[in-house]
């Protein structure tokens, strides 16, 4: 992703930098974080245009893990990459080996 992609993330629906599959995933993420009860039939129909149910389960699991831990880390007052950035801490074993 480029810096412009990041800038467009908060207004992803109107951005031409993301495809429809990415937009569906981003809307799912937004609903999970900010408005879980707003995940209505329209959202699920849109998700199913691009993902299998198994992919939706896996994506949701990834987002909820990341979201919850980001919220904790925010109370620690630690910014991204501020701790152990020059180490392999936090990387999957396969990434460390490669």
């Amino acid at each position: 992703m480029t810096e412009r992609d990041y800038e467009d993330l908060l207004d992803f629906e109107s951005s031409d930098r993301f495809g429809e599959r990415q937009k569906a995933a981003l809307l799912y993420t937004s609903m999970l974080v900010w408005n879980p009860e707003g995940a209505d039939e329209a959202l699920w129909a849109r998700l199913r245009q691009h993902f299998t149910d198994e992919q939706i389960v896996e994506l949701g699991s990834f987002v909820c893990l990341t979201y919850g831990q980001q919220r904790v880390i925010k109370t620690w007052g630690v910014g991204h990459g501020e701790l152990l950035a020059d180490t392999t801490a936090g990387l999957a074993p396969s990434k460390v080996e490669s």
Partner: protein, 131 residues
């Protein structure tokens, strides 16, 4: 209405790696770990908006502290200021703080995921042991 059929455990089970990772976290952090499990459960009930947990003035000591931190994690990270951290460090070891904080974060994410699917934030007690 739920958007995927089955219990939370059955839905996770559609992707074995998802179920396996959740079961590991449940055993080692949500239920296990070094912090008091009853304290964790109190925080999880607050995240699920259990009416009996919403008035923090009913609680004191470690319970009140844990709820204050759970509130900061879920709603207002700025509330985790130096004063709150001083109180947390006075009552908990660093290991307990890591365990409790990560447990609150994991549970917060799981409850949001469940609500996105159309499930209640937490299982009824009879179901909880299975999911």
């Amino acid at each position: 209405m739920a958007h995927l059929p089955g219990t939370a455990a059955e839905i996770r089970g559609r992707v074995p790696a998802v179920l396996e990772s959740y079961e590991f976290i449940r055993a080692n952090v949500l239920r296990g770990g070094v912090a008091d499990p009853a304290l964790k459960d109190l925080c999880f009930r607050y995240l699920a908006e259990d009416p009996e947990t919403m008035d923090f003035d009913r609680f004191e000591g470690r319970e009140r502290l844990a709820l204050d931190w759970a509130h900061a994690i879920a709603w207002d990270a700025d509330a985790a200021d130096d004063a709150l951290w001083d109180r947390l460090h006075a009552e908990f070891s660093e290991q307990e703080l890591v365990d409790l904080g990560c447990a609150i974060g994991f549970e917060l994410g799981q409850q949001h995921w469940r609500r996105t699917i159309g499930l209640p934030a937490r299982d009824e007690p009879a179901q909880a042991s299975r999911s």
